[in-house]
């Protein structure tokens, strides 16, 4: 489909229509005082903001607990199962296997319990097989607390993405918020890409090109290369 040009640029419109359009003004931006008045009214609409904040906090804590618990469970269950098996095997294991059991003990020592998964393998095979499985890091080193952070990062970026077309300036503010909270976050490359997209929409092409160069340096030959190329080429081809 060929790109249409606005009448004022193409000059294809009837003269009277063009004359009339000369008196047109772009919609004005919302001024700070009206925004503040409107914000107060909207806050009043939403009931008691403090209560809403507390509810949100509780929800976030619950979400964090669930995700964190799930992460810990993922790591400790196999560990615990291994411990249980060893605990079951220990009395009859060979002397050479015994130290290995004690080396694994310090991080998490479950109370002796009956094995929930009796091994059908011969004794030695079971121990050797277990010793060749990769070591699982202790629960302390597990990144379970980052799961909620990742969710928060994603939420901020998704919020910014939703604002790109309607309000790129606000999108940039949200992305700055992401930068302040998650300077080295897992989604920092996506943040930079969104920021460049917002700058392009705001016609701040020089700034966009500068940040694109930084992004390329941060992550050479990444998937963003092609997206950046399309974004910046598309921007430069527009009047």
């Amino acid at each position: 489909m060929t790109e249409l040009e606005p009448w004022r640029q193409s000059g294809e419109a009837p003269r009277e229509a063009l004359e009339l359009l000369q008196h047109a003004h772009s919609p004005s931006a919302l001024d700070a005082r009206t925004r503040a008045r409107s914000r107060r009214r909207v806050a009043a609409l939403s009931g008691v903001p403090l209560a809403a904040g507390v509810m949100l906090w509780i929800q976030n804590v619950a979400l964090g607990a669930v995700l964190g618990g799930a992460g810990i469970a993922l790591v400790t269950v196999p560990n615990w199962r291994g411990q249980t098996r060893e605990a079951t095997l220990a009395p009859v294991a060979s002397a050479s296997a015994a130290p290995r059991v004690s080396q694994r003990a310090p991080v998490f020592v479950p109370p002796p319990q009956p094995s929930i998964e009796p091994s059908s393998k011969p004794l030695e095979t079971a121990i050797v097989a277990r010793s060749t499985t990769p070591e699982v890091e202790s629960p302390v080193a597990v990144s379970s607390p980052t799961a909620p952070s990742l969710m928060q990062e994603a939420q901020l970026l998704e919020r910014a993405r939703g604002l790109l077309d309607a309000n790129p300036e606000r999108a940039l503010e949200v992305l700055s918020e992401h930068q302040a909270n998650f300077a080295r976050g897992a989604l920092q490359l996506e943040r930079e890409f969104l920021a460049i997209s917002a700058l392009v929409r705001l016609q701040r092409h020089a700034e966009a090109a500068r940040r694109a160069e930084q992004l390329r340096r941060m992550s050479p030959q990444s998937l963003y290369d092609e997206r950046l190329k399309q974004l910046l080429d598309g921007a430069s081809s527009k009047p």
């Binding site: 606005p6 009837p14 009339l20 008196h23 004005s28 919302l30």
Partner: protein
């Protein structure tokens, strides 16, 4: 095979939306959209408030299947349509208000002000002859210079729909201008 939800949709559904946040992010968009839809300056603040009252009531029904801006545009359309009906009823009142302000503006050249007011009134008359959807597209494309793909994104419609609305709006705009010229011509010849 079960479809895997995209990262984006998962994150979007997890976004905690509340009316305060929507206001923070989209108040300016709503404000501009209402102007694009022809809500006059005197009614803008009320209309803005009306939109957010609806957002407050209906936010739980927003299912993330479209962009939030698209959903908000739909609300703006309904609010602007209601405003348009009310404004029509009190058009006479508005005209007299405009005249009073014109006379009460001692700093400006009355003749120039009058010409500007007349031109603005003529433009508004022509734009008011368009349906609200076409008017919004026309204003965004012809007056604000927003590219068609960006308008499509904002309104949640295909680019083809934007071009189609624009093409119809241009034709209607041209016809309305011609009608106005004819009417002025008749008046002049009397």
């Amino acid at each position: 095979m079960a479809s895997i939800p995209s990262f984006s949709s998962v994150a979007a559904s997890a976004v905690e939306l509340d009316v305060n946040r929507v206001h923070e992010d989209y108040a300016d968009f709503v404000w501009r959209t209402l102007q694009r839809l022809g809500v006059v300056a005197q009614d803008l603040e009320d209309a803005l408030q009306e939109v957010f009252v609806v957002v407050h009531k209906k936010l739980t029904t927003f299912d993330h299947s479209s962009r939030l801006s698209t959903w908000l545009f739909g609300i703006c359309l309904r609010v602007a349509a209601a405003q348009r009906r009310r404004a029509y009823r009190r058009r006479e009142e508005l005209v007299s208000e405009l005249e009073e302000r014109l006379l009460a503006d001692p700093g400006s050249d009355p003749e120039q002000s009058l010409l500007r007011q007349q031109a603005a009134a003529r433009l508004e008359l022509v734009l008011a002859s368009l349906t609200l959807e076409r008017r919004a597209v026309f204003v965004m494309f012809e007056i604000e210079g927003i590219a068609a793909p960006a308008i499509a994104e904002m309104l949640g419609v295909p680019v083809g729909t934007v071009y189609s609305r624009l093409s119809t709006a241009r034709a209607e705009f041209t016809q309305a201008v011609a009608r106005l010229e004819r009417r002025d011509g008749k008046r002049g010849s009397l």
